[in-house]
């Protein structure tokens, strides 16, 4: 049902995502629901997530592109803006969403968020506190989690 009447924009975006994937990001639609994407993001270099492969799910709601896609981490990750359910605190996924943005830009923003955690606008209070009080230790934990949960998909 979801595949019938799929807007042209979604088809085009999907084609482009598959033909020219952004570096370190792969996104492919699920076979039975073209609005559901399996996403993998490589941990950016020089971040505590380097070497990790993070799985995410991305869903395009009915109103897309007027409403933001819904994205969630499936791989456990130690990050002040991502909670234990994998929900992401990112402005463009909430009130700053613009229909001019695309799946690609959203995923690039998430990748950037991994490089630059923002403990001042936390989703996970405890991790943010950890990050602010002892960044070196928090980064170690993030690396540890990357090794434990995100190595080799």
């Amino acid at each position: 049902m979801a595949n019938s009447n799929l807007p042209r924009r979604i088809i085009k975006e999907t084609q482009r995502l598959l033909s020219e994937p952004a570096p370190g990001i792969s996104a492919s639609p699920s076979e039975d629901n073209m609005r559901y994407f399996n996403v993998m993001i490589l941990g950016p270099t020089q971040s505590p997530y380097e070497g990790g492969v993070f799985k995410l799910e991305l869903f395009l709601p009915e109103e897309y592109p007027m409403a933001a896609p819904k994205v969630r981490f499936l791989t456990k990750i130690y990050h002040p803006n991502i909670d234990k359910l994998g929900r992401i605190c990112l402005d463009i996924l909430k009130d700053k969403w613009s229909p001019a943005l695309q799946i690609r830009t959203v995923l690039l923003s998430i990748q950037a968020l991994l490089s630059a955690p923002n403990p001042d606008d936390p989703l996970s209070e405890n991790i943010a506190k950890h990050w602010k009080s002892n960044e070196a230790e928090a980064v170690e934990t993030a690396k540890e989690w990357t090794r434990l949960y995100a190595s080799g998909a």
Binding site: R9, M66, K96, A100
Partner: protein, 584 residues
């Protein structure tokens, strides 16, 4: 989701057709041209004054002025202050108003096809709309965007679709595009915009009457005040509940809550009874030992509430031991009992006066009858304003008297000001207050009783005497009431540091009554005389009830389906949370 709202619209529309009290305003003022519906016309009129001012000062277009005013909550003074302090560019940028220099910008004049980056399609250039910020997208995408935003309740500030563009979309363009796809939604959009004048404006409030009289009231001075709507309801402008001075808003909120849930009774029950561990009924101990047997037959220990066997000795209960009797509990019970008695005392007085107030309301008709009977008599005195004045004084005083009891309950209770007064201080203040209150009360009762005299059967001389008595008593009562307020404001509240200590001041002439005043040609406003100065407050009248109900419905609908929307209370200005949808 559109369907959901629409169907309810129909329901309320139908409802309102049968409502004989629904104000008729079709015959008022000139037509607004393209704008349909009474409600809009009236509201547009109210907002127009402010709009015009801003448009003139800043030489802006109407929709830009509206965006600015919505951003600044229709506070023209504040807007102008920002203008002076920060300049026009900053003022506009903050509110999402762009200068409009791209107004006539037509994308790619030379090619007939343009790329819309939202749907990623080539579209004919004439099917593209450019906003004031210069960003253009195809009409179909814009329309989709607007529909989603209107349904999200964001009509007042629909931003441009471009990423990080803060510009607010031109309402005229929104209206045209939405109207082409969904005329009903376009109407809704208009309504949301217009309602903003009332919803977002701290100087304007809906009359809280139920069923709603359709009026909104505007005051010029947002300080604490009580107002009387044209429908007769007196209410507190800051908390929108009934007029409650000399209680502060918080006191009144606590008191009405207490009266509603009888929390003292509940309190007493929790302290003096225990739920049976088997049937969970409340069980009161009627003396004797700590083995209690419920009507259901279950035995349990009074001390810990646990089920026990039925046998006991002086020292222990069969199959049970939970330690010794606790002194603390006795104290707690005594405390609860004292609190309850205290509450009952104040509540009884409060209730008695409210009841009297209601009974005295009937006095109005009887007195009117007596007056007309006297008027028929051949008499030298044809002026009976002394009776009506006296009656008015009685109503006014009775009201204040009844609210003075909940005031005293909180003022001299343990809950609120315990830390700010010593016991002795409190006792002194309490006596002072009670003396004033007592004198005032005695006069109110006297006034009440002489107003009930069958003066239509009196001889001329006796009527003259009664007239003197009533006039004198009214003056004395007024003075005493003023003194009571003086005592409250200076002696009691004046020394405290409590944010809610502010109360609406006493007005000898009574609550400010909104009177009719024609301000704009296409609307009806009311205003009050405030101590002979002009422009006290206005009533914006004739808001069809359907609109209000619809609005309420949309709110509920949003709460229901978008629970993550935050309805934020604006603490400084509006106490009623549910009145304002502020952020999402």
């Amino acid at each position: 989701m559109g369907d959901f709202i629409d169907s309810d619209d129909d329901y309320f529309d139908h409802d309102s057709d049968d409502d004989p009290e629904l104000p008729e305003i079709d015959d008022q003022g000139p037509n607004e041209g393209s704008v349909k519906g009474n409600y809009k016309r009236v509201s547009l009129g109210c907002a127009r004054e402010d709009l015009r001012k801003v448009m003139e000062v800043l030489s802006l277009k109407e929709h830009h002025a509206r965006t600015l005013l919505i951003h600044y909550r229709w506070d023209v003074d504040k807007l102008l202050t920002v203008l002076v302090e920060k300049g026009k560019d900053d003022l506009c940028a903050k509110a999402g108003v762009t200068s409009g220099e791209h107004d006539n910008f037509v994308p790619s004049k030379f090619s007939s096809m343009v790329m819309c980056i939202v749907c990623i399609e080539e579209v004919p250039a004439n099917e593209v709309t450019t906003m004031d910020c210069g960003h253009y997208f195809c009409n179909s995408c814009w329309t989709e965007h607007f529909i989603v935003k209107i349904n999200e309740g964001q009509s007042k500030r629909i931003r441009c679709m471009e990423h990080q563009c803060q510009a607010i979309c031109d309402e005229a363009k929104v209206r045209i595009l939405v109207n082409a796809r969904d005329p009903k939604l376009a109407e809704k959009f208009d309504r949301f915009l217009l309602e903003s004048y009332i919803e977002d404006n701290r100087k304007v409030k809906w009359c809280p009457s139920v069923p709603h009289c359709g009026n909104a009231i505007r005051v010029d001075d947002v300080e604490l005040c009580e107002v009387e709507c044209a429908c007769g309801l007196q209410f507190c402008f800051s908390c929108s509940s009934e007029a409650h001075s000399p209680c502060s808003c918080l006191m009144w909120e606590l008191w009405s809550k207490k009266c509603r849930d009888d929390s003292e009774t509940v309190n007493w029950i929790t302290v003096h009874s225990k739920p049976c561990p088997k049937c969970h009924k409340s069980v009161e101990k009627n003396g004797g030992c700590n083995l209690v047997i419920c009507v259901c037959g279950q035995a349990f220990c009074w001390l810990c509430g646990g089920a026990t066997g039925r046998e006991h000795t002086y020292a222990s209960i069969a199959g049970h031991s939970c330690g010794r009797y606790k002194e603390e509990k006795v104290q707690k019970a005594e405390h609860a009992k004292r609190d309850l008695l205290r509450y009952i005392h104040y509540h009884n007085r409060y209730k008695a006066h409210t009841d009297s107030f209601e009974l005295e309301t009937n006095l109005k008709t009887t007195i009117q009858e007596k007056i007309s009977r006297l008027e028929e008599r051949e008499s030298t005195n044809k002026d009976f304003s002394w009776v009506t004045d006296g009656l008015y004084r009685l109503f006014r005083s009775r009201r204040i008297l009844s609210y003075s009891y909940p005031f005293a309950f909180y003022m001299f209770g343990d809950e609120r000001f315990n830390n700010q007064m010593t016991k002795e201080e409190r006792e002194i203040k309490k006596n002072l207050f009670e003396d004033q209150q007592q004198q005032f009360e005695a006069n109110v009762e006297k006034l009440s009783s002489i107003l009930e005299e069958p003066f239509d059967q009196f001889s001329e001389d006796k009527v003259v005497k009664l007239r003197m008595d009533i006039i004198n008593l009214s003056t004395v009562t007024d003075k005493l009431c003023g003194k009571l307020y003086e005592c409250i404001e200076n002696e009691l509240l004046g020394t405290l540091q409590w944010s809610t200590r502010n109360i609406a001041p006493y007005k000898s002439k009574g609550v400010d009554k909104a009177s009719e005043l024609i301000v704009c040609t296409d609307m009806k406003l009311y205003h009050t005389e405030k101590d002979s100065s002009k422009d006290g407050m206005c009533i914006i009248t004739h808001m069809p009830i359907t609109c209000v109900l619809n609005l309420l419905y949309v709110r509920i609908y949003f709460l229901f389906f978008f629970p993550n929307i935050v309805f934020v209370e604006e603490k400084l200005e509006i106490n009623n949370t549910n009145k304002s949808l502020k952020s999402y």
